[in-house]
Amino acid sequence: MRIKEHPVLEFKRGKMIKFNYNGRELTAYEGETVAAALHAAGIKTLRKSTEFQRHRGLFCAIGNCSSCMMEVNGVPNVKTCLTRVTEGMVVAEQRGKGDLGALY
């Protein structure tokens, strides 16, 4: 959910863009992080743990904890809390530890 009114802050939101999440089209504001855009769309589960398939979401939001890693434009293990969403970006929940095979 987005904050509409705030007593102290003004949000300079970028233009509306579209991106793809697990095959669905979602909208976001240019300049916000992938994790924030997903949160705004009500999506909190960003990945599953590799061994027990437990749901994992955003935890630290500053790139420390790895809880928010997803596959972005085919690249696995991308920290979505640090990555800004762009027009046409393809974001997907990652399977397991991720595979760089296709890229390298």
């Binding site: 959910m1 987005r2 904050i3 509409k4 009114e5 705030h6 007593p7 102290v8 802050l9 949000f11 939101r13 916000e32 992080t33 994790a35 924030a36 949160h39 705004a40 909190k44 589960t45 960003l46 743990s49 437990r54 749901h55 994992r56 979401g57 955003l58 935890f59 630290c60 939001a61 500053i62 790139g63 420390n64 904890c65 809880s67 809390c81 640090l82 800004r84």
Partner: protein, 373 residues
């Protein structure tokens, strides 16, 4: 290819920026690394008026302080700022491996100041990995930078300053704060912050903690229980609150990986938040090339981080033979005095006790990773 520089500063928060600003007229080459795509560290999301010392900008909002420092930094032409640049590790021959905008760089520096800040601490309880559980800093980031709220109903764990301030910011963003829960018998944060929360009708429960979180794939609620005088949960005292968000404000832990890798002597000092490097009174660690400043040296607050950044910066550039050495020595003494003044009195008691344990001049406690003598 290896990049060479006189001074490398890791971390572009208040400590790192303050360190770099000291090199303004030094004639030395400086590189500043910041993992995020903007400078400011924790300060950029702090929209409240600052607590702390009057001389040192108390009353100003954190994000405003950060902007001012950044503007000053942009004027310096001997400084290269690398954004989206994470220091990954320290290698022999004094090389730091850096991932900068998705390419790898090797940087070799005469002196390195580590100002990487701190990481949020975790609590152990069943289901603490469910989506919907956040560190307080993450909630601040989401709300204050992106304008997105984490959920509708929140329980805050921890009534120190950070827990209280973030609770207030949640309320400002229109989120319901169901309760603030604090394991200790007293509220840890300043009374002004606690009063702001209480006035809005949010209860602050002391002597209680989380027993477990529950929910199917995401947080749906939390079970709290009371603690006895040995900090043990009292069976039968449980109660449940339906919430979709649990915010943990249970302290920070210094980020010191690079210093550990560089063989700096470390010590576990609870008063400073965890494992920290031993240092002399110029903030030089036991590895003569490395300095530490800010929350990475011990979790304190922004004013201390800025002053420590200045001290480490001045000390490093003096060692490197900066021009105007004389006036820099004078400046260094002034900074040390300000730091002492800041840490005076009952508020600074914990920090003072912690600092006694990390002095390299003999007072150090037993360390865990000792490499050098």
């Amino acid at each position: 290819m290896v990049l060479y520089t006189d001074l490398l500063v890791v971390g572009g928060g208040p400590a790192g920026m303050a360190a770099v600003l000291q090199a303004a007229d030094s004639g030395l080459s400086v590189i500043l690394l910041e993992r995020y795509d903007q400078l400011g560290g924790q300060l950029v999301k702090q929209t409240h008026r600052f607590f702390g010392s009057k001389d040192e900008q108390a009353g100003t909002r954190g994000n405003v302080i950060a902007r001012a420092m950044e503007e000053e930094l942009e004027q310096l032409d001997n400084v290269t700022v690398l954004l989206e640049a994470t220091a990954l590790g320290y290698y022999e021959d004094n090389i730091l491996l850096v991932s900068a905008q998705h390419s790898l760089k090797k940087i070799k520096a005469e002196r390195i100041i580590v100002a990487t800040g701190a990481a949020e601490k975790m609590l152990t309880f069943p289901n603490n990995d469910l989506p919907g559980i956040y560190g307080a800093g993450a909630v601040q980031t989401l709300m204050n930078l992106d304008g997105v709220v984490p959920g509708r109903r929140v329980v805050m764990v921890g009534a120190g300053n950070i827990g209280l301030i973030v609770s207030y910011q949640l309320l400002q963003a229109g989120v319901e704060v169901v309760a603030v829960v604090e394991a200790a018998r007293q509220i840890g944060g300043y009374l002004v912050h606690a009063a702001k929360i209480s006035r809005t009708g949010v209860p602050i429960y002391t002597g209680q903690t989380i027993k477990r979180a529950y929910g199917n794939g995401e947080v749906e609620g939390v079970e709290l229980w009371q603690l006895d005088h040995n900090w043990q949960g009292i069976p039968g005292s449980e109660r449940s609150l339906a919430v979709d968000t649990i915010c943990l404000a249970v302290g920070l832990r210094p980020l010191t990986d690079i210093l550990v890798q560089a063989g700096c002597q470390m010590a576990y000092v609870p008063q400073l938040g965890g494992d920290v490097p031993l240092r002399d009174d110029n903030l030089k660690t036991s590895n003569h090339r490395f300095y530490v400043a800010g929350d990475a040296a011990g979790v304190e607050e922004a004013t201390a981080a800025i002053l420590e950044g200045e001290l480490a910066g001045l000390s490093a550039i003096l060692e490197l033979g900066a021009k105007e050495g004389q006036s820099l020595e004078v400046k260094k003494r002034t900074v040390k005095k300000k730091l002492d003044k800041l840490r005076k009195g009952p508020v600074g008691e914990k920090i003072r006790a912690g600092l006694l344990k990390v002095r390299r001049d003999g007072n150090a406690g037993k360390d865990r990773y000792s490499h050098t003598g």
